[in-house]
């Protein structure tokens, strides 16, 4: 019974996930795309839950769907989301090749997983109750993955500084740069 319920939830979450994913890339307005991504992240969180990763699921909702997407929406709002036709522009072969490449990758991964599904991937390990709990995650972060934790913080710091540097107003015009064209044509 529990199994069936899980299946039902999985099917909803999975299709929600795929549908919102497709929506992200096919909306012409970035604003809608961003909204669709939130849906996507949410369904992912559900999938994480089904995989017994409570902490990650929570973090996904809080950090991603919460913080990051808000930032996204903010920027989109700031820029005034210009809509573009999702398929237009660029050489035709580019789009065709894009479909081909993405499709090939998809087929390949599916085939690879399918090849393996009958074998190893069907025997999941049994896990302890604490698996995926904040306690376990916290312990791991402070023991085996101490360094990863630290690095993550550094990367965030770097990114924050970078974001400021890039996003901030230029304080001063450049004096002699007016003649600077990157390709060396004389002005």
């Amino acid at each position: 019974m529990g199994n069936f319920l899980v299946w039902v939830v999985w099917v909803f979450a999975a299709f929600g996930c795929l549908g919102s994913g497709v929506a992200v890339v096919s909306f012409s307005n970035p604003f809608y795309s961003a909204l669709a991504l939130i849906g996507n992240l949410g369904s992912l969180a559900v999938l994480y839950l089904l995989l017994s990763s409570e902490f990650v699921a929570a973090a996904q909702v809080l950090v991603y769907a919460g913080a990051v997407m808000v930032m996204f929406l903010f920027v989109i709002a700031y820029l005034g989301g210009e809509a573009d036709a999702p398929w237009a522009g660029g050489p035709t072969w580019q789009s065709l090749a894009a479909v081909l490449a993405a499709g090939t990758l998809l087929v390949e991964i599916i085939v690879v997983i399918g090849l393996k599904a009958g074998g190893r991937l069907s025997h999941q390990a049994h896990i302890g109750r604490s698996f995926g709990s904040p306690a376990q995650i916290g312990r791991l972060f402070l023991t085996d993955h101490l360094l990863a934790f630290e690095i993550t913080s550094i990367v965030l710091l770097v990114a924050a500084v970078g974001g400021v540097v890039l996003g901030a107003h230029a304080r001063r015009r450049y004096e002699w740069g007016s003649a600077r064209l990157p390709r060396g044509q004389a002005p």
Binding site: V6, W10, A14, C17, L18, G21, V24, V25, F27, L37, N40, L44, Y48, L50, L51, S52, S53, V56, A59, Q60, Y64, V68, M71, F72, Y78, L79, G81, P86, A88, Q94, A98, V99, A102, G103, L105, L106, I110, I113, A117, L121, S122, Q124, A125, H126, I127, G128, F131, G132, L140, F141, D144, H145, A148, V155, L156, A159, A160, G163, L166, G167
Partner: protein, 106 residues
């Protein structure tokens, strides 16, 4: 005191992850708006995360989850820098269209 896994086995999750990855890649490949390209990148990273967590469950080991959490932070960082760039571009009145960013080529 262990729990067996309920619901679909890991390969189904992986299939979803693969689909997401392909969708994200497709988005990067065809979209011209840098914002949507960034969103597509997020989808790809999330596909990776889903795979990590699925495998983490599969092996019953926690390090996949740790990885996934770190990736979230990384994804956030990339978004920050990416959005910073996009804002800077709009300040410089550069069209927000990656196809028009072809000054450098050849």
């Amino acid at each position: 005191m262990t729990i067996a896994m309920l619901g679909p086995e890991v390969s189904w999750y992986l299939a979803v992850s693969a689909f997401l990855f392909a969708t994200g890649a497709f988005g990067v490949l065809v979209r011209r708006s840098p914002l949507i390209v960034l969103l597509s990148l997020e989808i790809m990273l999330n596909a990776g995360n889903l795979a990590l967590i699925a495998f983490s469950r599969h092996h019953g080991r926690g390090d996949g989850q740790i990885f996934a959490i770190s990736v979230m932070a990384i994804a956030a960082s990339e978004v920050v820098v990416g959005l910073g760039l996009i804002v800077a571009m709009s300040r410089k009145r550069v069209a927000l269209d990656v196809d028009k960013l072809n000054f450098l080529r050849g």
